[in-house]
Amino acid sequence: MYRKKQKDKRNKIIISCIIIFCLIVGFIVNVVVTDRELTIFEKAIKDSVLTVQKILGYPIEFITNKIDENKEKDKMYEEYQKLQQEVVDNNRYKIENEELKKQLEEMKELLNINDTLADYTELNAVVINRDLGYWYDTITINKGEHDGVTIGMPAVVGEGLIGKVISTTTFNSTIRLITATDVVDKISVKIQNGNKYVYGILSSYDSETKTHIIEGISQTEEIENGAIVTTTGMGDIFPAGVMIGKITGVRTDTFDLSNVLEMKSEVDFDNINYVTLLKRNL
């Protein structure tokens, strides 16, 4: 009788331990996998630590900036000559751009449209941290809720789209890159195919070939390598006309029903120092 009681007690303890362990693992998985909003307590800790980190990082930043400056000094004259040529071209584009903007505004007034899918305001930020977990593909920037950053804002660099904001604190934000393999948001994209656009969905990233996969393309469409991929602006997050990359390959899907495109971004995701956040005006 006593032994049986002891055995029952042991079994209960084992079952309780298993349940507690499963609950803890479930909690961790839920926290890591979903994009949850940080609590006030977490935000305060993160902000304080990153502020200290920023202050301590200034000397290193100063030294690396000086080294970069010295490196660039050697090739300054060559770059100056190139830039002079580019300034001439840029002035032409600037005038064209101004003219097109004016025309667009006039047309908007005529049609009584306030904002289009491509309208957005920009906010520049500096990268202060890169992913320390190696596989999570996130970066932390020095702009937060205080500067008007909100969850879901798209982030771009000169070469194109890099990701979107997944969490914010008062003075910092975290961006998940589009190279993350666990991207849950599909992006509506358009591919410039000659004079017309072909629409598709940017669905995943292949880490082996380092290419993005675009699905939902009809087999009748013939798309050439090098075609430019931009966002369509459909959906709540990404404005229209943001460059994402160029097509590098076309193949059929597993059921042989539609085409799957491989796209390579021109962004060097390993070396991002400055980003621009886009706020949609819609």
Binding site: I24, F27, I28, V29, V31, V32, V33, L38, E42, I45, K46, V49, L50, V52, Q53, L56, G57, I60, T64, V127, I128, N129, R130, D131, L132, G133, Y134, W135, Y136, T138, T140, I166, S167, T174, T181, D182, S207, E208, D270, N271, N273
Partner: protein, 163 residues
Amino acid sequence: MIVFISILSFLLDGILSRYILPTTLFLPLFTIVSLVIIYPYFNNNNLKYFRYVAIIGLLYDITYLNTLFFNFFIFVMIGFIIGLFNYLLSNNLYTSTIITVIAIILYRVINYLFVVIFKNQPFDFMNLLESIYSSLLLNIIYCIIIYITTELYSKKHKILRSK
């Protein structure tokens, strides 16, 4: 001294992540190295050590990864392994370096398994191997530097540490 080593390593992890590209062979995991270095200064008070390691893990979660209790558990697990090795082996520069290597491998493997199981990433052994060997070199150098510095400091100021 324990707090100083921990804070320094913790902040250096964040600062250097901005300057060291993920494609290089010098990825910092100084916080893990600091767990190995500080263990002898707890003088076999394992409970105190685990509590300390758990707090660092939680801070690491919140500050760098936006997670909760994930690194907390991994750090405690690594802390347990560090304690076990320190119990089996005498503490010196060589054993500290070996324990650092084991701790880094363990950290990367647990992290990767988690990503593969719960984040739908295909298992790629080469990717895992790459993440491990690219994290070893810089951290071993850091371990050697910080070990020698702390030993000299503790000898000078007669700070007790378990052997």
